[in-house]
């Protein structure tokens, strides 16, 4: 993966990357983020629970596949808008995919083929359901 984060430091952010949120209230407000803290706790969706497990397995100490520092680095490669718009697990999914490709665990082509295949499967099931 190219480290092309230079482009991700936006001029108005004064050199701050998207994940670096401490103190930046105005920044959230100008991205239309509600700054009140919602204490409501919803159950995780099944896919989020599985993402959580993948994340922990891949970054587990001693596995040597994707260390926690590389995982964090990959999760920081978002522009401000995407970082704030995407959910926590959706960010981590993108980060894991990028890192797996970078580490050669699978190739970008393999990834695109697989993603397309899953997409088609789900569309097929939907069609069956709405018959």
């Amino acid at each position: 993966m190219r480290d092309d984060r230079k482009s991700m430091i936006e001029p108005q952010s004064g050199g701050r990357l998207a994940h670096d949120l401490g103190g930046f209230l105005e920044h959230l407000l100008c991205h239309g983020i509600d700054v009140s803290i919602s204490k409501e706790e919803t159950l995780k969706q099944p896919y989020e629970e599985r993402t959580d497990a993948l994340l922990l397995l891949l970054s587990a100490a001693g596995r040597g596949l994707l260390n926690v520092h590389a995982m964090r680095r990959a999760s920081e490669q978002f522009n401000h808008e995407d970082y704030l718009k995407l959910s926590y697990y959706d960010r981590w999914l993108r980060a894991m995919v990028a890192l797996c490709i970078e580490e050669g665990i699978f190739s970008e082509e393999e990834w695109l083929v697989k993603r397309q295949q899953v997409k088609r499967q789900s569309e097929a099931i939907q069609r069956r359901k709405s018959d």
Binding site: M8, D20, N67
Partner: protein, 95 residues
């Protein structure tokens, strides 16, 4: 890179005001700010290199630094923030 304790407990330090798009663990809001070293936390895995290769296994000295709310954003007198920062991001302040 130095791998020994460079700062003493109680010493005032300034956080380097450097912006980089490389992975590092120094929040923007502490950059350029002055705090007091409260603890030496020993040598820890250096995330700045480990983030780019699992074969980079160097370490760096880590310090706990206390910042007054007043020195960060004119916050209240009775508030402090503690953060764990690498020695390479700190430099001595003349007091």
């Amino acid at each position: 890179m130095t791998e020994v304790q460079e700062f003493q407990i109680g010493q005032m330090v300034n956080v380097k005001s450097v912006c980089t798009n490389k992975h590092h663990r120094v929040p923007f809001y502490l950059k350029g700010k002055i705090g007091k070293v409260t603890e030496y936390l020993g040598l820890v895995e250096n995330p700045e290199s480990a983030a780019y290769s699992k074969y980079n296994l160097d370490v760096y000295p880590l310090y706990r630094v206390c910042f007054k709310q007043t020195s960060l954003w004119g916050g209240e007198q009775n508030g402090e923030i503690y953060a764990d920062l690498a020695g390479k991001w700190l430099f001595e302040v003349e007091v």
